[in-house]
Every structure is written in structure tokens, then in C-alpha cells.
């Protein structure tokens, strides 16, 4: 059954939301969701790469010879990743320093690669654009939810833009464990469990 264009977009927000349902792109999900700013910064970077690489790969899908398609996909994805990297260096250097290695690592992130292979190489440009945008936004939302939860409980503050905003009075006891690496695994596990309960009808 063919999906409508709207469904192509919205599936990324719930039914195929990348880290929780597809369980893809977990490396940055675990590593950088310690502040909200990092999370949506990463999400926006991935959304950009995903949308543009999807469109371009879809446009070139009849030209790219099947035997070398993976190489071609990687070149396209890597190009957009470097675009993001340069733009971030030029305009949001502080965020670039915090996300560090995870920006170049978008190249080997399974989401852009997976969508290129599984979707953009088989569908038209409009559908591919909507698919990329939807999944990218879904990824951003997922990271932000996880980061909000972790940061509030672990530090009692939330970083929306550069400076953290303290939410509670001095009586709040920060639970630092959640911004450490093991805390990330536990939070992700809880989120996956929650998604499974919600998805069970």
C-alpha cells in the first residue's frame, strides 16, 4: 500500500522514529544527550544531512551504477556532513566544540546511510525529501526528550541556548549519575521500554 506524502513525513515522527523504533543512530544518542542544546544541535545537523543526501541520492538514483552505489552514497553523505561541519565552525563554534567528533561521525551514522539505501534509492525526490525531513525531525525530538529528562534530573537545569537555566531551588539534590555514560544506557533502555508499552495496542 502506497503511503500518502503526509504519511511519508509523519512516519518519522512516531512509527519509525529513529533511535526508539528503528534503533539506529544510537552512538550519538547515548553520547551527546547530556544537555538539551547538544541534543537539538545534533538533531538539526542530522536532519540537514539526511534531507539533502536523500534528495540528491534520489535525483541520481538512475545514474548511479548499482555496483558502486554505496561508494556514491558515502561521497554524497560525507559532502553534506562537511558542509554542516564548516557552517557550524563558522557560526556556532561553541556547540561545534561540544559535539566534537560526533559531527564527522554522522557519515557513518546508520540513519543517512540506511535511508539512502532503503528509501532514497527507490523513491522520487519529493518523497525522499519528506522522508529525510520526517526522520530527521523525529531524531531531533527523540534526542531532545532524552536530553531533557537526563539533564533535568542530573543537574536540575536545562540548557536551551548556551547558558543553563536552573529550574529548582537550592533544595534540589542533583542525581549526577544520569549524565554519565551508564546513565545514558539506563535512560535509553527506559525510553525503549516506554515506547514498546505505548506501541502495544
Amino acid at each position: 500500500m502506497a503511503k500518502t506524502l503526509v504519511q511519508e513525513f509523519t512516519k518519522g515522527l512516531w512509527a519509525e522514529i529513529p533511535p526508539f523504533r528503528l534503533v539506529l543512530g544510537l552512538c550519538p544518542t547515548l553520547a551527546i544527550t547530556n544537555t538539551l542544546e547538544n541534543a537539538y544541535g545534533m538533531g538539526i545537523a542530522v536532519t540537514f544531512v539526511l534531507t539533502f543526501s536523500n534528495v540528491l541520492i534520489s535525483a541520481l538514483r538512475k545514474i548511479i551504477p548499482p555496483k558502486v552505489r554505496i561508494v556514491a552514497f558515502i561521497v554524497v553523505i560525507a559532502t553534506f556532513v562537511i558542509v554542516v561541519e564548516l557552517v557550524m565552525q563558522a557560526y556556532t563554534y561553541a556547540l561545534f566544540l561540544k559535539l566534537g567528533i560526533f559531527i564527522p561521525l554522522i557519515v557513518v551514522n546508520c540513519i543517512p546511510m540506511g535511508r539512502a539505501e532503503a528509501f532514497a534509492a527507490k523513491n522520487g525526490m519529493v518523497r525522499s525529501a519528506l522522508d529525510g525531513l520526517g526522520l530527521g525531525l523525529g531524531y531531533t525530538i527523540a534526542l531532545s526528550v532524552l536530553a531533557t529528562f537526563r539533564q533535568i534530573i542530573a543537574t536540575g537545569a536545562l540548557t536551551v541556548y548556551e547558558t543553563p537555566i536552573t529550574l529548582f531551588g537550592p533544595a534540589f539534590e542533583p542525581f549526577r549519575f544520569l549524565v554519565e555514560a551508564p546513565g545514558a544506557f539506563i535512560c535509553l533502555g527506559l525510553m525503549l521500554g516506554l515506547m514498546n508499552i505505548l506501541g502495544k495496542k
Binding site: 551504477p65 561508494v71 556514491a72 561521497v75 560525507a78 558542509v83 565552525q89 563558522a90 557560526y91 563554534y93
Partner: protein, 197 residues
């Protein structure tokens, strides 16, 4: 055979387009990125050595050719005059280079302050060159006429205990800055005059 040629042509085309786009973007963002690197990487150190300066030393800067290299100098306004210059230098540490910013008062010919920008020294030992302000503070007021030396080498700088190589490297780096300063002194003073106007 035809298939192979086709694959090569397509991949070459994609790579060429990608390379062209990135080169153009690199060209376009270069200046802003350099600015950001100055601000975030060297900025804290330059501001630290010029903590009493009345101006923004990052914004007041000039470049001079020193042989094949181009050096950046940051200017600090001290006691109402643009007389402080900070330059970058490096010394060979225990594990790789130690990057330094050295600020010199052009009127008295003494060091205003030094600050370590980058290093890969041992945490807790050599890393104190950056984290322990008392070590760096020993360089304040040292005259640029002679090389800075640790006490073991007959100088005035007390080495960080357990990190003689690091301490020597910092002293050596500071001395390198002195040599550069002495070599370029006429040009530096010329530039400072232009800034005063």
C-alpha cells in the same frame, strides 16, 4: 568494459562536484572560522594575559611577516596606552608541543604575563603548567633581553616539582617568544604607532 568505464565516469563526476562544492564553501567560511578559532581557542589565553587591559585584545590585533611565517600579535591597552603585545610561541614539552601566549610590555621590556594554550603533558604533573597559575605568574616581570631559565639552569623560574622537562619547555617557549619579539621589534613598534592614531 563499458560498465567499468561508466562506473568510473559517474564516481569521478560525483567526486568532482563534491570537491568543488566543498572547496568553494571552505573558501567562503575560512575567514569566519579563523575568527572563531581565535575567539574560542586563543581568546581565553589572550584575555588572561591581558586581564587588566582596557580594550579587547582579540579585536585589536595585527599580523607581521617573519620570514616564511605570518605571526599574529594581540595588542593590549595598559594604563591608557597601547603598549602591550602578546604573541604565540611554542616549546617542546615532555609529550609534544606546548603552545603559549606571551604578553610583553613594549615600554619596560618586561613580560606582562604568560599563559599555556595547548599541551599534552601528564595530568597532575606537567599539566600544572596550565592549571597552576603560580607557575605561570613567575614569568611576570622577567626582562625580554635574556632567555628565561629555570633555577636548575641558572635562571629565576622555580620548576614544577616532578616536571622539569615541562618547566624547561615553557621557559624555552617563552624565550622563543623573546627572540621573535626582539627580531621584529622595529615593525611591532611601527604597527603600535599606527594603532595609537
Amino acid at each position: 568494459m563499458r560498465e567499468i568505464i561508466y562506473m568510473v565516469v559517474v564516481l569521478t563526476g560525483i567526486s568532482l562536484a563534491s570537491g568543488g562544492l566543498l572547496a568553494a564553501l571552505r573558501e567562503g567560511t575560512q575567514e569566519r572560522i579563523d575568527q572563531q578559532v581565535l575567539e574560542f581557542v586563543k581568546g581565553p589565553s589572550v584575555r588572561a594575559v591581558f586581564k587588566d587591559a582596557a580594550n579587547d585584545p582579540i579585536a585589536t590585533r595585527f599580523q607581521l611577516k617573519d620570514g616564511p611565517t605570518v605571526r599574529t600579535f594581540f595588542v593590549g591597552e595598559i594604563e591608557g596606552a597601547f603598549r602591550g603585545v602578546a604573541l604565540e610561541a611554542a616549546g617542546k614539552g615532555y609529550k609534544g608541543e606546548i603552545g603559549l601566549v606571551v604578553a610583553i610590555d613594549t615600554q619596560t621590556g618586561n613580560v606582562i604575563g604568560i599563559n599555556v594554550t595547548t599541551h599534552s603533558e601528564t595530568p597532575g604533573l606537567g599539566a600544572k603548567a596550565k592549571t597552576d597559575p603560580a607557575f605561570a605568574a613567575q614569568f611576570n616581570g622577567v626582562p625580554v633581553s635574556g632567555p628565561a631559565k629555570v633555577t636548575k639552569d641558572g635562571g629565576s623560574i622555580n620548576a614544577i616539582s616532578g616536571a622539569t622537562i615541562t618547566s624547561r619547555a615553557v621557559a624555552g617557549g617563552v624565550s622563543n617568544a623573546f627572540t621573535v619579539y626582539e627580531r621584529l621589534k622595529p615593525q611591532i613598534e611601527q604597527k603600535l604607532k599606527e594603532i595609537r592614531k
